[in-house]
Symmetry: C2
């Protein structure tokens, strides 16, 4: 079912991982179409090397489904509808499913009017924001996606946890096969890097995190018990806050300290909110002209002279697309502990 | 006309500064209504302590007007029009004027459909992005503004100058008198801080800039001759690039290395592009409910315990609004060299 490489990481063929993920979700009561969306989001993240948003999340999703905190068959409802603005209630469905529905609705509206915004309340963890931004590029649109998240950062200057590492994704189509796809957390670094350092007992650089008392720390475990630091200090903090205004305050979702944690809160739903913006390129320029222009900009980037200490330059998302091509051939890398959890879960559910 | 404070900085009463700025612009052929918009943008920036975007720019604007590179009476045209998307040609008018027109158009469309996007090509330096984002809040909307700019940064990993310190502003109304107003360059720090350090002969911290050979530098002059570094490395670089896609590629404006410098290019216009997004809050929630919710989020921020080394926490824009109140009473701070340039310019133009 999987092979182990030289660093002790399992290499799982993508069809195997997809099949297992899909069957586990179906066994937990998720209808086939929705199980397909979640599977696609998770396995794509793993294929792109973003394993923090891949099938490593399946065990906690399963627990929350079993606890009734993720609804496998949500009645996702449009609760406010305008020509270029729409508000959806996610009914505690999988964020991946709710988000895909919201972005589809947003794209249809943008196709009709030129641009649109969709807001979502009562959602759950939605995987990578880039998954939805990329949907826009497949229809020759630009997609912008934001979300709030469970508190993991303080506002700049504080040490009270009240901001998620709220992600922002922006995607645009190019003349080539891959879009430009920026997908970034508003923390200085991804939480996953701190988790990895803690597992390995290694220190972390200053600037990544602070301890629970609001002091800079280089100890990974103190960082995990404390707070992540925002990207670029006040700028990342401000951006995270404004993403909460757009994703949380505007949509009627929970926001700030009011958001539930997927890992810690077992008596309540997460109450997450997201925002989706779609811009129909053809309302500005003929799409072929746009693609020539964006390819020209990309060529300028790729033709740059290198700075000291670098041996390559990547476009937003490019490194992830390169990994995806490699992993689609060789299989995705899955941590042995994660793989053991998932196969145990499959066993419990009677999935082969 | 002005007094000098203990640090040798001129304190100019705001009505004096406004009057002088307005009269200089009118003497250069800018019609009263447009001169008022530019004056408002510049003096508001000075009042908020953002003197890099205040009347210190007036001399270069005057030179570009006199060189025919800023058009004092532009025929700003809508060249593509959809219910929620509009593209304007700024005809080399003042970016402040073109931007205000674009945001007004965008707000009207968002009022009709729920959300809208305006793109602008053939524009010039537009001052602070926040000036336009704040316009949205006065109509109970959320405003998002982006622009490209003359190259001052490399893509992450490179040392070829091809990205501006492309700004992003996001503003939302609150229940109080001031909106939340995030207005940030995508460079690690503002160029103005490097200019100041160079003037004072002081070193700059690593992480701010690199020299022309792509090596990290702590010498302010080498930084000015070299490149600014992006906010948070690849994240700021990616964000700057996507802002160029939205402001430049999408709008038919110049982009990347193709953008003209306001200071160096005297044989061509800047060819800047901007993007404006407006979201009508009332299409999502009753505005009073939105304001209660955003005030609750702000109260969470302001009620935070302090991190080590901090004695206060500010909301996005708050520090600037505090300065504005102070400066509206005491006058704005103007560098003596800048003040001498402006009064000399006034003299040449026969403005008293």
């Amino acid at each position: 079912m999987s092979t182990t490489n030289e660093s002790g990481v399992n290499l799982v063929p993508i069809p195997t991982a997809e099949d297992l993920c899909f069957q586990i979700l179906e066994a937990l009561g998720v209808p086939g179409r929705d199980a397909g969306i979640v599977t696609n989001s998770l396995i794509t993240a793993d294929a792109r090397g973003v394993s923090s948003h891949g099938i490593s999340r399946l065990p906690v999703y399963a627990q929350r489904l079993q606890a009734g905190l993720i609804n496998p068959t949500p009645d996702i409802k449009v609760i406010r509808d305008s020509p270029s603005a729409v508000l959806l209630d996610g009914a505690n469905g999988f964020g991946h499913v709710v988000g895909a529905r919201a972005m589809s609705t947003c794209l249809a509206k943008a196709g009709a009017t030129g641009a649109a915004v969709a807001g979502v309340r009562q959602s759950t963890h939605f995987g990578t924001a880039g998954f939805f931004a990329q949907m826009a590029t497949e229809e020759d649109m630009i997609g912008i996606v934001g979300s709030n998240g469970a508190p993991r950062m303080a506002a700049w200057g504080g040490r009270t946890s009240l901001l998620g590492t709220n992600p922002l994704a922006i995607a645009a189509p190019t003349g080539g096969s891959d879009p430009l796809l920026l997908d970034m957390a508003t923390s200085a670094v991804a939480l996953g890097k701190v988790i990895l350092a803690a597992k390995r007992g290694e220190p972390i650089p200053t600037g990544w995190a602070m301890d629970i008392e609001g002091r800079p720390t280089t100890e990974a475990q103190a960082a995990l018990d404390g707070l992540m630091l925002p990207l670029g200090g006040p700028k990342g903090s401000g951006l995270a806050l404004m993403l909460d205004v757009l994703g949380g305050v505007l949509t009627g979702a929970c926001f700030g300290m009011g958001i539930g944690s997927m890992y810690r809160d077992w008596d309540r739903s997460e109450g997450l909110g997201h925002v989706f913006i779609a811009i129909d390129i053809g309302r500005f320029l003929p799409i072929e002209e746009f693609k020539q222009r964006i390819d020209d900009l990309c060529a300028q980037v790729m033709g740059s002279d290198l700075a000291q200490g670098f041996d390559s330059i990547y476009l937003p998302g490019e490194l992830e697309f390169l990994k995806e091509r490699d992993h689609r051939t060789r299989g995705i890398q899955v941590d042995p502990g994660v793989w053991a959890e998932i196969t145990a879960l499959a066993g419990e559910l009677g999935v082969s």
